[in-house]
């Protein structure tokens, strides 16, 4: 079930878990599958586990693409 949402890590705990925030609700997330998780990172969470970090640069670039689309600019999507 890939209903994974990006949640923001607000705290790391000693046992390899963390607390993540989505819309003000806090969830315990197992971080054993994530390399070097840090507070402030956005994590894709699935079945109680972080499965990957959100790449902020890529996310921002994508958001800008959508904003340009909304503004009516002609934009391409392919990137090597």
């Amino acid at each position: 079930m890939c209903l994974a949402m990006p949640m923001q890590l607000i705290r790391l705990t000693d046992d390899g878990s963390g607390i993540a925030d989505l819309d003000g609700i806090h969830y315990t997330v197992d971080l054993s599958l994530i390399e070097d998780p840090a507070v402030g990172d956005y994590i894709i969470v699935h079945a109680g586990f972080g499965i990957e970090k959100l790449n902020r640069e890529e996310a921002d670039e994508r958001l800008q693409l959508f904003a340009r689309l909304a503004a009516g600019d002609v934009v391409g999507t392919s990137k090597r």
Binding site: M1, L33, H46, A47, N55, R56, F66
Partner: protein, 370 residues
């Protein structure tokens, strides 16, 4: 910063939808082009956002076997019910509860006293085992690579802590072998794949290389926000128009070329590939994963001496054909009549990611394959 809102801008979606509809003529004139999406979440999102409506004439979007619940034979439910009948505690993801086995469902089993608990995470099952040492706990480990990783991380933890009353009834399936089987199936015609988002986060974009290139098809990885899907489809149409067949990772904010190495190493350490039966597709070689012998104590089938058989489906159930994109839900004689979300006969209707459930809920009854 909330990372969801920006991906759901209506204006951008509208602009993109218009661009797709206006800018692309059908890539081929002699026949329809079929784009297959193989992710249950894509199936749902496409239905929910009405994405089929923006595709130009001559392009068809078909759903593939993207729902792990749907491709698991009913015999798996039979095995889970049997374990519950023996007094074991079954912990499962919610959408397994109403999936029909040969005779019954886990929900029904629970209603007559079976210990069936719903958990959003395999960690819930392990916690239960820790807190109740007198109970044998079995987690129903069913899923593709995205789910495989968390489940196996929990097995690893159980092994390290020497938890003696926890095991997993595994039904892990791998996406790339299924794609290969679909490409090789003469009854299925696929001109491009819209590849899953979070399976790809685990396996990496490079995993689709064997399906692209000369003689291959475009493989575009997309997230499941509507804008992601629209851009992904546009990318596919562009490739088809240009005669290209490349792997295009459009979910780079989460998916890397190599994928999640930590998850892959864990998977390789605890599991080995096995042949696996897929509802509708038959036995696909090396398409499943089983626990290695040294983890046999955590494998419910070996631990509890239970064999998972094929089981029996309803005679008129067409889930098998729907799963491989050969038929649309409306082609099934049971769809919307005997088979509805409230009284599902096949897993495609019951699962929250099932094709039939998506069509029933969002597309209405009536969209047929012809």
């Amino acid at each position: 910063m909330k990372y969801i809102d920006g991906f759901r801008q209506a204006d951008a979606a509208r602009a993109l939808g218009q661009r797709i509809a206006a800018g692309f003529t059908a890539p081929r004139r002699d026949r329809e082009v079929a784009i297959m999406e193989v992710c249950g979440s894509h199936t749902m999102a496409i239905a929910r956002y009405g994405i089929r409506d923006v595709l130009p004439a001559g392009v068809r979007l078909i759903s593939g076997p993207g729902c792990p619940v749907c491709v698991t034979p009913p015999g798996y439910i039979d095995a889970a019910v049997e374990l519950a009948d023996r007094g074991l505690t079954i912990v499962t993801f919610g959408d397994m509860l109403h999936v029909p086995g040969s005779q019954t469902t886990l929900a029904e089993c629970r209603s007559r006293g079976g210990r069936v608990e719903v958990g959003y995470s395999p960690s819930v099952a392990l916690d239960l085992a820790r807190r109740h040492a007198d109970r044998e706990v079995v987690f129903l480990g069913i899923g593709f690579e995205t789910t495989l990783a968390p489940v196996i991380a929990v097995v690893d933890r159980a092994a390290r802590e020497h938890i003696g009353n926890f095991s997993v009834l595994t039904a892990f399936k791998l996406v790339p072998p299924a794609l290969a089987a679909l490409r090789a199936d003469p009854e299925v015609r696929v001109d491009a794949f819209l590849c899953p988002a979070h399976v790809s986060a685990i396996i990496g974009a490079d995993a689709y290389r064997p399906f692209a290139g000369p003689g291959g098809v475009p493989c575009v990885i997309a997230g499941f926000e509507p804008l992601d899907i629209l851009l992904g489809l546009e990318g596919i149409l562009r490739q088809l128009a240009d005669g290209r067949a490349d792997v295009d990772n459009q979910y780079r904010r989460v998916v890397t070329a190599q994928g999640n190495r930590r998850a892959q190493e864990l998977i390789a350490r605890l599991l080995e590939p096995v042949d696996a039966p897929w509802r509708g597709l038959g036995l696909i070689p090396q398409s499943g994963m089983a626990l290695r012998q040294r983890y046999a104590a955590y494998d419910a089938a070996r631990r509890h001496g239970i064999v998972v058989t094929e089981g029996r489906s309803h005679r008129e159930c067409r889930c098998g054909d729907v799963i491989k994109g050969k038929q649309f839900p409306a082609d099934c004689p049971l769809f919307g009549k005997a088979c509805t979300p409230d009284s599902a006969i096949g897993p495609c209707m019951v699962s929250s990611e099932g094709v039939c459930a998506a069509h029933y809920k969002y597309a209405g009854i009536g969209e047929a394959s012809s």
